[in-house]
């Protein structure tokens, strides 16, 4: 058991150090979502005057977006790093060692979770600095952190699966626009009940990203909304379980080859 923990620790440490040594991989997931937050909360502030808008602060409403957007970056980082390990032959060399297969995945995802935690803390700190008050209080902040990291884990595993199946960093990167479509066609900028175009509201309702956003948003602007929390955590659990299963299978195929 200790040996397994050591394996995971060293691979997770390697993953974090490697990410930290590439400023673009650290700065992009931190700065880009915050930039979008700044632009949207400035440009869409007038939306708070719509009847039925759930808060008078658009920043509080939009603060949920960086959490999910940052998780999308985790997909890219995890997938691209793993793809590089495949392309450089590092994974093949690992397969010759007694290392357990699952430790490779756990180590890689350990790095993603660490980076996810940093991202979530930065987004929260920025939100608090610019005057957002978390309606669910200190306990809600803890749930937000746990949820943010959980979403990073789920999306990170999805990135790992893509990397293990394709073995190509470019292929993993090409997923990014697809994820952006999911983000934009969701309740990212307006609550679903205020969407006027029926087909758009239907697509946003069917889009799981809407529920991830609404879970974060409920803790920030409403307090304790058990339905939003159950949907958010439930969907994340399904995404994580499916992604981990697929990634484990892809790793098995890859290391057997």
């Amino acid at each position: 058991m200790n040996s397994f923990v050591d394996q995971v620790y060293f691979l997770a440490r390697r993953s974090v150090v490697r990410t930290a040594r590439q400023p673009a991989n650290v700065i992009s997931p931190l700065v880009f979502p915050l930039f979008l937050l700044a632009v949207n909360s400035g440009g869409l502030k007038a939306e708070t005057h719509l009847p039925g808008f759930p808060t008078s602060s658009f920043v509080a409403f939009a603060l949920a977006v960086p959490f999910i957007q940052g998780a999308l970056f985790s997909t890219m980082n995890a997938g691209t790093d793993l793809a590089r390990d495949i392309q450089t032959g590092f994974l093949n060399r690992l397969s010759l060692t007694p290392m357990r297969r699952i430790a490779v995945l756990a180590g890689q995802l350990g790095g993603v979770v660490t980076m996810g935690l940093v991202q979530v803390l930065v987004y929260l700190a920025v939100g608090l600095i610019i005057g957002v008050r978390i309606a669910s209080g200190p306990a809600g902040v803890l749930v937000l952190i746990v949820f943010g990291v959980f979403v990073c884990l789920g999306f990170g595993a999805l990135g790992a699966f893509a990397a293990l199946r394709t073995g190509s960093g470019e292929a993993v990167q090409s997923l990014f626009p697809a994820f952006f479509v999911f983000l934009f066609i969701s309740s990212m900028n307006i609550p679903r009940n205020l969407m006027e175009i029926t087909w758009f509201r239907d697509v946003a309702t069917a889009n799981p990203v809407s529920y991830l956003l609404e879970c974060v948003r409920s803790l920030i602007i409403k307090g304790w909304d058990l339905e939003a929390l159950a949907l958010g955590f439930g969907i994340t659990a399904v995404i994580t379980a499916a992604s981990l299963t697929l990634a484990s299978w892809a790793l098995k195929v890859r290391m057997a080859g």
């Binding site: 949207n40 440009g43 007038a46 939306e47 006027e196 758009f200």
Partner: protein, 255 residues
């Protein structure tokens, strides 16, 4: 004549590459459609915000932004092609063989323009298909497209200058990010008068604000700030023309 021959050859090659390669063609058409859908579809209730007065509706309001955005990104995407030509060594061979090298920049400009016109055609067809209302006359719409054309050329010249200085695709973010920033620091979702706080201050001094507001004025049959918009767009194109030509000279010097 030699300049035109070079321009024709460069633009034909560039267009052939784009239109025979789905991975280059599809994003430049799909992304504007996607932004149009996300903004016009998802945010249509914004026209109910007190003080929002655009009689043609939110679809037309966002159509103008997406037209201008697609024009700018059409230029930037062509810049990626220039950088790719330098990476592959093709651009260096081109510099050796072209009798008039300014024709190279002209050729890239022509290909950016054709590329944008294709995107514009698809976008406009979709916009009318979903019921976009236009108040402006044909001449006024032409004003919007003329602004788009100038913006397309300005963005291409900006990206061309970057590509010729760095001569690598790794300079992609340098081409793309400033254009993205300038576009989104303009009144994207609501008119300038409804912006509040710091973004209002930034939007007021952003030259693209004039271009976007004038474009919306054309669609609403209420032309506003037309001279300021054309002046801003032409000034950008003129400045970036010098930037691109100096980039060309740097590329020549680098060999």
């Amino acid at each position: 004549m030699k300049t035109l021959a070079v321009a024709r050859g460069v633009s034909w090659r560039m267009l052939h590459n784009v239109f025979t390669n789905p991975s280059l063609l599809i994003p430049s058409i799909v992304f504007p459609l996607f932004f149009f859908t996300a903004f016009a579809g998802g945010l249509s209730r914004v026209h109910d915000v007190p003080g929002f007065n655009f009689p043609q509706g939110y679809t037309a309001f966002q159509y103008v932004f997406v037209v201008l955005q697609s024009a700018a990104f059409g230029g930037v995407f062509t810049g990626f092609g220039i950088a790719r030509d330098f990476e592959s060594g093709f651009a260096r061979r081109l510099l050796l063989t072209a009798p008039h090298r300014s024709g190279i920049v002209l050729g890239y400009g022509l290909s950016a323009l054709v590329r944008w016109l294709v995107t514009l055609t698809v976008l406009t067809t979709v916009a009318f298909a979903v019921g976009m209302q236009v108040g402006g006359s044909g001449v006024e719409l032409f004003g919007l497209y003329a602004l788009g054309l100038i913006l397309n050329i300005a963005a291409l010249l900006w990206a061309c200058g970057v590509a010729m200085r760095f001569r690598t695709l790794q300079a992609g973010p340098v081409m793309q990010l400033p254009v993205f920033l300038v576009l989104f620091f303009a009144p994207v979702y609501v008119p300038l008068s409804l912006l509040q706080g710091w973004i209002h201050g930034v939007a007021v001094v952003n030259p693209l604000t004039r271009v976007i507001e004038a474009g919306r004025g054309f669609v609403a049959a209420d032309p506003t700030e037309v001279a300021a918009a054309f002046f801003a767009a032409l000034a950008l194109a003129g400045g970036f023309f010098l930037w691109a030509i100096r980039g060309l000279r740097k590329a020549e010097t680098a060999g």
